[in-house]
Assembly symmetry: C3
Homo-oligomer: 243 residues x 3
């Protein structure tokens, strides 16, 4: 494997994966990297494709590699924001080379069989959908975290809003993102409750300005966002059932 | 009650109160908000008036309300610096509504009778007075905190200075703010010792550029500063008696 | 003693000394300040000369004074970056006066005889030498610290590089600073291993953009850098012997 990629894209790729888990089993093929990953508590999934077209240069045979994402993120933190990072594995080697600007790391790969198996991702047909500025929804998530550990999210196509409700003892917070801020008008209706911890990690990891949210009544939420015109990721988070 | 206020004014109002205590009993009337508050150790007082003219819009009947300032500060921290914040209480309700930019909090009011009673503020006739840039005196306070927990402040009208003395084991610090920095020439003379903890909290909370300091020999210090042309606060801090 | 010095020069002087130890025995003479100091573990030395020409004004008789550098750094941290700082000791006094912008500290001097004796600095004749941008080598040091507590540094005159090697369990890092970044071409060859803790403290303390590094096979490293055109310091750090 021999590839070159802009640090800004690689860092967002690693960041999104780390919102779910720190050890990745990456399927490498000539079309790029593909990963399906579930978090240790089996609550959140990520499905991500980093297209070979998102790389500056890409040449790879089919293989499966295991990577410690925390270490990798730590090492490339010394690189400039738009440095070109070379990721390569020599034929038959079990080491990843990470090179940029005078630095060359050799990192032992993980045995893929020791990394938690990617699950089969359920095919969901969710009724409600809206595209929001990532920053707006993240601001709501952060404010809600001050109150509680879960949040109720509603997509309302009649009112043309995405709204949230969170509460704590003596305080309730209603937040609305209306058509003055939404990127697309809401389609369909749905409402469910989710864990704020997971949502905060997920939205924090998305640097792209736009995120599409899909949900349904008491079903998982799907959170989709592009990297660039070729690559994207999709998070899926199970609902919390009100007791 | 139905009011709108610029976040920068509201935040400074809350900040100054929190220099003394985190639970406020606010007297609401058609002329605005008025609070007298003492700190739990009975060492520092604040008397503050937020005039109805400092609000963007203001409509209120006479009432007394109890507010948890720490929570309120936390909630409005999600607002932009110059966002307009709506504060309202519906007729007969025991909840404060705090709304801005898509966010709407409903916060339970405190029972005013559970909030520490405001004291009668003594009428002091202090001999010495000077107006200083808030930043200059705060810098002196911060430097003095590195040495000791109290500071001796002197206003000297002959030398035209405000000076301070603090000491610790092997080090003494003399600081002087002279006419090159003072906003008005000192009037009268006085000298007393005060707790640095309280002074640091008080001066940190004042964002206005100018502060008037009044003191006398071994008497309380009074620290006055405007919010804008309509509203102001006055702190009073008891002296420490040298043992 | 009666001197005035720009805070930027004084702060770097103190900072470099503090990379080695917090108590200094300063030899004062009409040519300036001179210090030789060893760290408590006897691993790193500094030899520093702050020329009287680096001061704004300088007048002093010969003397030896002991200074608590941590306190001094703390006190002058209230000064602006380019404030002129007056350092003075009155005839027969055991107190240092530190004055700037309205602040006047009086700090008790340490008894020089209680401060660890400066060692005789060995005269080393090292084979390899190169001048590097301080920031480049510091970046390599910081990246290496994430892996291990020591680093192998090589100067290679044939390849015209300064290179480093550090390793940890499953990762190795090779870093190279080549002629595109070096300030002067490497002279001679040498290679040795050093403690990263010490190197990080030393390079962090050097604010000058250029640093000269001298080393040899398994010998101490010498790290030299100017303050300005009149003054400079030289660090010496013992090698770690691979076991």
């Amino acid at each position: 494997m021999k590839t070159e990629i802009n640090n800004s894209i690689l860092s967002e790729f690693i960041g999104r994966l780390r919102a779910i888990h720190d050890e990745a089993r990456i399927n490498v093929s000539e079309t790029g990297f593909e990963i399906k990953m579930i978090d240790p508590a089996n609550v959140a999934l990520i499905s991500i494709e980093l297209s070979s077209q998102s790389f500056e240069s890409f040449s790879a045979d089919e293989s499966e590699i295991g990577i410690d994402l925390e270490k990798l993120a730590d090492y490339i933190s010394a690189a400039g924001k738009n440095d070109i990072i070379k990721l390569s594995i020599e034929e038959g080697s079990s080491k990843l080379k990470v090179a940029f600007d005078g630095f060359e790391y050799e990192v032992a790969l993980l045995d893929p069989s020791t990394v938690k198996q990617a699950p089969r991702i359920p095919n969901l047909d969710l009724t409600a959908q809206v595209c929001v500025p990532t920053k707006e929804i993240y601001t709501v998530i952060k404010a809600s975290e001050k109150l509680e550990d879960h949040i109720c999210i509603t997509i309302d196509s009649a009112k043309q809003i995405l709204s949230t409700l969170s509460a704590k003892e003596t305080t309730t917070l209603n937040a609305e993102i209306g058509m003055d801020k939404l990127i697309s008008a809401p389609i369909g209706d749905g409402k469910a409750m989710y864990s704020l911890d997971y949502l905060a990690d997920i939205f924090k990891s998305i640097k792209n300005k736009e995120t599409t949210i899909k949900l349904d009544s008491d079903k998982p939420i799907i959170i989709e966002s592009q990297f660039d015109e070729y690559s994207s990721s999709s998070f899926m988070l199970a609902p919390r059932i009100e007791s």
